[in-house]
Symmetry: C2
Subunit: 353 residues, 2 copies
DNA sequence: GGCAGCCATGTTTACGTAAACATGGCGCTC
DNA sequence: GAGCGCCATGTTTACGTAAACATGGCTGCC
């Protein structure tokens, strides 16, 4: 049973310091400064029409009382909250956490706080529930970091009228999307391996449910086909190093396999381990490339050639796109692609003679 | 210049679908259901005193209009928000992001949303600014994931009257603290190495500003001293694999060094690389242990012996401790330690004969 | 049968802010 | 010098919710 607070006492006639400090409102400041609360409001919001001496009195009263504006009241008044909601599947992946960090940083710089709702199991119901909660919280907009095609199972779309930006998804035809240029990054990596002289490139893909994984796999296939190379059977992992390890063990057993493109760095780490344990040297016998360029990749054995992804920029553009929607014209759907760049390290080399 | 919205039109007499949907309030629902808004409130909050037929009418009206409670108004009324603020230095470290994820998950389960404010540079000013912002947002409590001793430079403490829980800090004498049992985890790792027969253990510490790093280094030193072993000079990194690599290069040059305890897994990764490049085998020549047990550690070359840290549990306890404060008696200071456990893998072995 | 009491429901009010409107005094203009 | 207008400031109101209080009809008891 939750204890109900006793009725609030009017002023701070309470035992000071003993009980909870009474919240200071504009009216309290106004009383102390001898002005109306409206004048306090004007001072608080930097509006004109307050003479300098009055303003100083008000400011003095504010700091004396420790006044803080109450955003609940302000939000009720304005109908908005200066808050951006972020709905995401999980923070465990490096990419997500760095994107969220960038979102939070840029949002803060624009005066917005961010509210996070993680969705453990990304079902339609759970995502809609998160949206409902966001609606209750009166966020000004929502950034969705979830594979939106998970939502396609039913006819229900995202709530209309809510400003939304989607990350890492193919929903570009329905919502504004910000995403890393998965296809171009993949092309750079695969072409790099072909240019080194490899006949073809094997691929350890991410899970089929992931659009990023599918786009990387699709681009990999396309590059090979356009170059007239054979397309080896796909290996699939779940983004984890361990899944990369098992895929790597299978690939290591195939002597024809001299170049592997893993869909992320962690799976590449597992591939490196599998190759090592199978006695195949990297890059002398087999070349390995990854995707993401996480900080650790430069310290793998050997340091990993990988596609650098600019998570911070993705986050920044999300916030910008959302604020543009909030402040002005409703942005239409479309995809904003953040470029990638190949970072060449020691894990790739020409194939063995 | 921000465009000011034209005055709101009363009902949805607006072009439907064209303009922004008018927010549905209790009054709208009440009107449709033919009851008072107070009755709607009672239904919305599951309070007794509403007859079944009336309740059904209200529920029907709610779903017909798509009513959502407005948390701004509710917060204004209640004086609280059902929101927990999290102030943190960065999400980039594995530990932080997983802790935040656990916090968000458990908070959500308790009906709380979380609001995130990252503090890029953890100065006193910035942290106080974040607290001010949290105050404005009327969060019910704050979880601080920042080395609190950074705040000790000045006399200013955290704002009084705000419920707060601190993670990963030595502020246990002033605030409730939840933390991994750094000392015990370190003891397990160092003793494991000594038990294997190593004469002593070298240490690659984290940055001196970090209390976690200091506590791990302190425990390392203590175990060695209690065992009567020599205490080798400390190597310091900044948590990154790259810094571990450079420390590792220095240690690899010392033939006496047969066992290394790195303060986190990523620095251990760098150490592994340095040893490899220096031609020293792991674990045949040198044993390496880490701290954190991040997912990748099992795929390092060789798989890393490390101290498992339960970030999810830390997050859970933070939320619990904070909610306890919010709902009931103000919890005093004190430290809640989450146990750790050593995970033995292939990177540790007896010293060379 | 009359009245007390209870239950379902309605009415009033307060939460803190800020827009819209009101007021009053002073200076400037003709 | 009288009136107009502007500027600083005050007053009213609305935002959506829910506690507190009010009402009115019905039941049950003596």
């Amino acid at each position: 049973m939750i204890k109900i607070e006793p009725p609030r006492l009017r002023a701070a006639s309470d035992v000071p310091g003993g009980r909870r400090k009474q919240r200071v409102s504009m009216a309290d400041v106004a009383r102390l400064a001898g002005v109306s609360s409206q004048t306090v409001s004007r001072v608080a919001n930097g509006l004109p029409g307050v003479v300098e001496t009055t303003r100083e009195q008000v400011l003095a009263a504010m700091s004396q009382l420790g006044y803080r504006p109450n955003s609940a009241a302000r939000s009720l008044r304005y109908g908005r909250f200066n808050t951006i909601g972020v709905i995401l599947f999980g923070l465990s992946s490096t990419g997500n956490s760095r994107t969220v960090e960038a979102i939070a940083t840029h949002a803060a710089a624009e005066g917005y706080a961010i509210t996070l709702i993680p969705v453990g199991v990304p079902t339609q119901d759970n995502v809609m529930g998160a949206f409902t909660r966001m609606g209750e919280l009166a966020v000004d907009g929502v950034i969705l970091i979830i594979e939106v095609h998970l939502l396609d199972a039913t006819a229900v779309a995202l709530p209309p009228g809510v400003h939304v930006v989607v990350v890492d998804s193919d929903a570009g035809d329905r919502y504004p999307v910000v995403d890393t240029d998965q296809a171009d990054g993949t092309r750079q990596a695969v072409r790099h391996l072909l240019d080194l002289g490899h006949r073809t490139v094997w691929h350890v893909a991410g899970p089929a449910e992931s659009f990023a994984a599918e786009r990387r796999a699709g681009a990999w296939r396309q590059v090979l086909e356009q170059a007239g190379r054979p397309v080896p059977p796909l290996e699939r992992g779940d983004w984890s190093a361990d899944s990369g390890y098992h895929a790597g063990l299978r690939l290591a057993a195939d002597p024809a396999c001299t170049a592997i493109f893993a869909a992320n760095d962690q799976m590449a780490l597992g591939v490196l381990r599998a190759l090592h344990e199978s006695g195949r040297r990297v890059p002398a016998d087999v070349s390995v490339a990854g995707f993401d360029d996480i900080a650790d990749a430069a310290s793998y054995l050997p340091p990993l050639t990988t596609v650098h992804q600019d998570f911070a920029e993705v986050g920044r553009r999300c916030v910008e796109a959302l604020l543009r929607q909030i402040h002005a014209e409703p942005a239409g759907p479309g995809t904003d692609l953040v470029p990638t760049r190949l970072v060449t390290r020691a894990s790739t080399a020409p194939p063995p003679a």
